[in-house]
Symmetry: C2
Subunit: 597 residues, 2 copies
Amino acid sequence: MNVASKVSQTAGKHSPLEEEIRKLPIPVTSVFLGKDGKIRPAAFRETDKTLVCKGHDRIAQVFSKTVSKSRSIILEAVAGAESSSVTGKRVAVLFSGGPAAGGHNVLAGLSAVLGRGNTLLGIKKGPKGLLNSDLIEITPQNVQSILNLGGFDFLGTDRTKIKSPQQFEQVKATIVKNKLDGLVVVGGDDSNTNAAMIAEYLEQEGVDCSVVGIPKTIDGDLAAGKHLPISFGFDTASKIFSELVGNLTQDAASAVKYYHVVKLMGRTASKITLEVALQTKPAIALISEEIAEKDMSLESIVDYVVRAIVERRKKGINHGVILVPEGLVEFIPEMRRLISELNRVLAEYESDITDLPSLEHKKEFIIPHLTAASAQLMASLPDEIQEMLILDRDDHGNVKVSQIETEKLLIEKIRYRISEMKRHPDKFFGEGKIPATPQQIEDFKKMSLSTQSHFLGYEGRSSKPTRFDAAFTFLLGLTAGSLVLAGKTGYMAAVTDFDKGGRILGLPLSGLITVETRKGKEEFVIEKSLVDLDSPSFGLFAENRDRWAGEDLFSSPGAIQYWGPTSRQIPIIVALDQDYPDFGTFDLGEEKEIKID
Amino acid sequence: MNVASKVSQTAGKHSPLEEEIRKLPIPVTSVFLGKDGKIRPAAFRETDKTLVCKGHDRIAQVFSKTVSKSRSIILEAVAGAESSSVTGKRVAVLFSGGPAAGGHNVLAGLSAVLGRGNTLLGIKKGPKGLLNSDLIEITPQNVQSILNLGGFDFLGTDRTKIKSPQQFEQVKATIVKNKLDGLVVVGGDDSNTNAAMIAEYLEQEGVDCSVVGIPKTIDGDLAAGKHLPISFGFDTASKIFSELVGNLTQDAASAVKYYHVVKLMGRTASKITLEVALQTKPAIALISEEIAEKDMSLESIVDYVVRAIVERRKKGINHGVILVPEGLVEFIPEMRRLISELNRVLAEYESDITDLPSLEHKKEFIIPHLTAASAQLMASLPDEIQEMLILDRDDHGNVKVSQIETEKLLIEKIRYRISEMKRHPDKFFGEGKIPATPQQIEDFKKMSLSTQSHFLGYEGRSSKPTRFDAAFTFLLGLTAGSLVLAGKTGYMAAVTDFDKGGRILGLPLSGLITVETRKGKEEFVIEKSLVDLDSPSFGLFAENRDRWAGEDLFSSPGAIQYWGPTSRQIPIIVALDQDYPDFGTFDLGEEKEIKID
């Protein structure tokens, strides 16, 4: 066969790597293995641990059926009886929200544990497909073709939230129509909250269908301490971002002229940024949670960054990498206030503002309605950011915070500050300010600051899963399937103890949920797991960052490996915060070639 | 040792991957191996092939000394005599231009072949260091620490062109002062032209120093057919871009709502785009060389893209990936004319235009000075692009073509066209236009087009080299060192026959150079190796692209592997155009553990 034919044959997910990784074995925790070494469902026993969040009294009222059933007790998987085998069950699975690496192995795990005796169905295009009853049967051949591959493309996904009574009825209709005994929801905090609500609703309606959630999100903010160290997809995404950031640190030191300012996807939490910083040791990494804790202003963040740039410059280094978490803006208290005032003004005077012909007119109208501090902050922002704050609104008329180009905002502010320092060095250098010799100040005045901005996000969501994420998700699928077969509802599948064979848990979803009041309305949410400033991972970062800022000490962790000595790494922050002995390897059981038939 | 200590120890390029890949063996072509299996310099013999470009008569005048010495004959390496060993030579090496993966292995190859008997020096920060005599000695320990690692950071690089008589004198001064017997220039087309000039100058000045070039550029546009299939760094960069584009194709099909428009670095040539397209099979890939050949207008490019989007939509696909080569704008003939007119007007009326207070005033002034066709094109461009064309100038006052955000220009034009089609479907659908049923037109009117723009570039330049680039660059270092020790000057090191053990050549640099007249001035340049529309690689793309546009047939080649079954791939376009039997592997000789001492 010639090269042209070989290339043509790679179309449709048959690249050399895709062909090979389909064959990779996957570790299986012992509770899922029969004496014959074959995969079979686990059974569950109650542990002596319960799981509840603050405000649980209210949760126990709203989720009365599921809470009284689970009594908030964490379940642990144990080997099932050799003889028992449930058959005839129909289980449907859906993806919800943004893709994360490993989703397809969840399907594989489900398919493997359900076996021939039960039926696995896939819901197309996320929760929307659940409403519309858009289901297909997933065959063993399907699963074999997507094993270890990335993306959610086998089923698709969307972000529909199931909220209205009518929607819940549609869900019930789909479940009844398709005779579903189980519904597995692969999603983030919102989707798992939704799963808990569906579980409760079905119980109240007397529909016998187990609802089980699976913790997915590259952001890593869906986690439960020792019970669930991290969500799936985080390892893969943070490794891809680390590869790219590592390359940029090396490129910065090679081209010796750029500061690369890199915004990293990850929504609210800065966990991805923290992990990437520990992997790559950039000149600067901003952690939103710390900025909020210290009540830092935008100007004080700029201070901090510029001071590092100046100190590096004094050592002859005029390049580096600056990491910015996606959610930063919402953690700067003064920006939060400004945005909330803007949301209020824009709602209150919607038609006035819409009618005004130009951006300038709109600004003129809005400014007097802000507090003085917010007006001053608004006026200090670059034009494009002001424009975005005023013109880009979401469906509820609110500022689209996630769309704010924080990396460009910071670049503008840093450039402006540096030009100011060049014009007025006396204001910035000297005693009690930045120490510098006259020669260093002269050098600084000759400095030119070249910047490149980057946003890393989509390229990290649909990669082929790392060996760790591939194993983790397969086990989550086995767990969810086992929970359904055991008739459990309102649980989230969880895997923990990545360092010693894996421990399989069922976490009562209602125990993860808390109640918040938003705009006077009660909202049920799973509390986001943010960067804990007292954690070992943040501690290690805080301890080392000045050293990394002071000189080039980057490391470049490179591309995700599927074979060889570095292919079994887990996230550094997980190893640190779970007190594992190593981040270079994991143990989730005996490796098995996966043949689904 | 606990995890915190382990993480701290990874600082300064000691990530687990970096530690392991330093140990990877590298293949060595037999001409560099003695009977004892150890590396030693090759000798060179003249082949029966000469290398000349068009206008060689003029080249033979300007490069009279080096041309008469080389007689434009290609040299081939042969095993050196077992007994011969040159010692006491001092050889300096510099990096020039943008980083490319494998530069450090060039140093390793040089160090290995020079051995203990000679001295290897590194010139810091590129050609600037050559002017300033900024040299360090490179020790075997240095080399061992950067073996197989990415970046140019061990020496740094810059883009200084050596042009003025004074600069040539400075080069001579550095060479004399440091008693250099050899100068190795690692660079792209400009830098290698510069190397040829330095070689000629030193000959004319009677300075006995061999100057040898090494073909580096991720763009892949420095190549010489069968004699040099590709430059180093192309394989690594195109594999990183393919990884990311592959992830985006998978993400697009998962999230089922975005078109990702990806601009790919690669300056003038579209080779990177072609390679990435063959690796990933995106919905659309634009190839600049074809657009120029067909004299396509901006509007006709938009036509082409929109038609593909509409056809996909008719099949229910509202997502995909569109690849755009960095150099596109310069290949659209009407854009080229506009830019050249703008350059003329901006030069002629510089002070008028500078004095005008606003962009609107400047536009008002400029438009009447353009031809009607260019004025119309200018007016059709989005505001930001017009602003960039008028306000962003390089040091020579010219439009900064490489800064034009082509991906955003295309997005704007596509969005506008689609909204026009929704408003006036009769103009676009129907007989002789886009065929569509009334239902398909109604569906189309409901379509929302969500786009995300990306620019991939810096993250591909300083990655750790692929196994192929690591081998290729080590051999280029061995070749350059051998050429210097053999007293050859004015050659470029080359490696070919990647499929059968490697063949080592010395290409006379003057044979790669042609003469162009730019602004009435004679300029010497190495002709860029662009995408050949008659090549097998373009042919395969052209044959398949409609199929890839019509449905999701993407493949996702994944991260670069250093171990395992997919770690030895070479660029698809190289395998196709060189008529190799496979792109899945290469043969550049026997693998050796590299111990430099």
